[in-house]
Structure formats: C-alpha cells, structure tokens
Amino acid sequence: MTVLSVFQWLGHTAVGRAMQHSTYGVAIVEMVHLLALALLGGTILLVDLRLFGVGLKRQPASGLAQELAPLFWGSFAVIVLSGLIILSAEPMKCYYNTAFRAKMAILFVALLFHFTLHRDAVAATKQRNSTVWAKSAAAVSLTLWLAVGLAGRAIGFL
C-alpha cells in the first residue's frame, strides 16, 4: 500500500465524494481549520513564550502546559480532522503539491520534537526556570510550528 493509494482511497470515501460535490464544503471546513489554528497556535505560543520567560511568568511552564493540555488536545483533534476532510476533497492536488509535502514532513518533525525533547524541557521547568535548554527548546518549537503554518498557507498559492 503506497501513500498514493491511501490518498486515492481518501478521495473515494463518502466524505471525500460529498466534499467534492459540495459548493461550500471546503470553504466551511477551511474556516473550522483556521479557528482551530487560533487555539492550537495560541496554546503552543503561550507555553513556548513562557519557556522564553515572556507572558505567564508566575507559574512554571510545566504547570502552564498541564493546564492548557485539554485545549491543546481539543484543538489538535479539530485541526487534524478538518485537515483530513480538506485533504479528502482534493487528494491528488495535495499529493503533487510541494508545499503540502513540505508541510507533512515538517509536521512530522514538529510532533516528534514536541513529544520528546520539548516535553522533557517543559517538565524540567518544575525544578529550574528559564535555562538555556528551555529557551532552545522554545526556539526550535516555535520555528517548527511556524514553518508548518507557512507551508500550510503556501499550499493554496502553488
């Protein structure tokens, strides 16, 4: 099973067919995707800025990340689901789109980083705040997520 065949299958699912035949389908799901971006991006931004020592300074980044976790997971679920639905509307266009491929590659790295080194750096703030380690993790995280967003916007321009 190749990636191409998975994309073709997505385009033939009931959701994919419905999206392809709908006038407003993609437009509406795209709006939901953007709304989720506001929340997911906002959550990531607040935790990373906290790692830098900016923003919600009174609590360690670990506590902040913990309290914002439901928001992170909620908006993450919405953005992935809406993204999959948009993908099912135009799988072949995305498959051959350089920006889409770049977005998926960077997204993979961003997620990998988020759940390994970034998670460790956030947990370490329980003991010590604003170490070089924490700031580097924040810088890498912000760069990766920003690149995911830029590549995502670029899909429509290519």
């Binding site: 709006m31 709304l35 506001a38 906002g42 923003g55 009174r58 914002l68 439901p70």
Partner: protein, 163 residues
C-alpha cells in the same frame, strides 16, 4: 471625497500597486496575517476561556489578563499592520466586498466588548479572588468575545470567496 474614492486612491498609490503586482509580497503578508491569528485570537481566546472557568483555573483572572495582555497587543499590531497592507493593495475590491464589510463591523464590536467589560464588571476583579468561578457578566463577555473573534476569522476567510 467619499470612502470609495479613498479606497480607489489607496489602490492606485505606488505601495498598493507594488504589493499587488509583486509575485511574492501578497502571499508573504497574507501568511503573516494568518499566523498572527495565533497571537491575537489565540491569546484572546485563552483569556475568554479563563473567564468561563474552563482553562488556567488555578490562576487568578487578573493574573492571566495582565500577563497575557501585552502579547495580545503585540498580536493586534501585527494583525493591523499586515491587514492594512493587504487592504491597501486591494482596497477597491474590498470596498464592495460583503465579507470585508461584515468583518470591519465585527471588528468594531470586538473592540467595544473589552472596553465595556474593563470599564464595568472587570473593575471589581480584585473581589473575585482566587476562585475559579467568575460573575455571570464576565462569562457573558467571554462568550461574546469568543463568538465575535470566531466570526471575524470566518468572515476574513470569506473575503477571498467573494469576487
């Protein structure tokens, strides 16, 4: 000189033309505008959700507001400057665009909401103490703000669908 003339004049200025005719300027400014949503609406939403008692329950409302507000202003400046440049380059089309008109109206309302909130119910924020619960009027302000900002994002996206 009416608004349409002003838009036409903006459209014809050298900066407006330069943004419109450059192959990369518009997409770059638009990308900044879209990602700026996270800083502006992301931080606003977190304050709103705190007002509703849904996130950051262990933090006092005043703490969250005072610490997040500088970031929100930062986001506002980025959104205003990038948004104005986008408008500048397509002012003539924006003028008659129903989604654009709706967005400006919603932005006005979204600006009024915190003005009213901060000058009334928020003045007594010190008495709310550390409890997760907030007065009903504070919750109302949170719901209105979430609804308005969501509608602004939706209408902003819709501008591109009206030609």
């Amino acid at each position: 000189m009416n608004l349409l003339h002003l838009c036409q004049w903006l459209y014809g200025t050298s900066l407006g033309t330069a943004i419109r005719e450059s192959p990369s300027a518009y997409p770059i400014i638009e990308s900044i505008h879209v990602l700026g949503i996270t800083l502006l609406v992301g931080t606003v939403s977190i304050v709103d959700l705190r007002l509703l008692g849904l996130v950051l329950k262990r933090e006092e409302v005043s703490e969250v507001v005072s610490q997040v507000l500088p970031l929100t202003w930062c986001g506002f400046v980025i959104m205003f400057v990038s948004g104005f440049l986008l408008f500048w380059s397509k002012a003539e089309q924006c003028y008659g665009n129903p989604a654009f008109r709706l967005k400006l109206l919603l932005l006005l309302l979204a600006g009024l909401n915190p003005l009213i909130f901060h000058s009334t119910v928020y003045r007594r924020v010190a008495t709310w103490g550390e409890s997760a619960a907030t007065p009903n009027r504070a919750k109302l302000a949170g719901v209105i703000s979430l609804a308005l900002w969501s509608a602004i994002i939706v209408s902003g996206r819709a501008i591109a669908y009206f030609k």
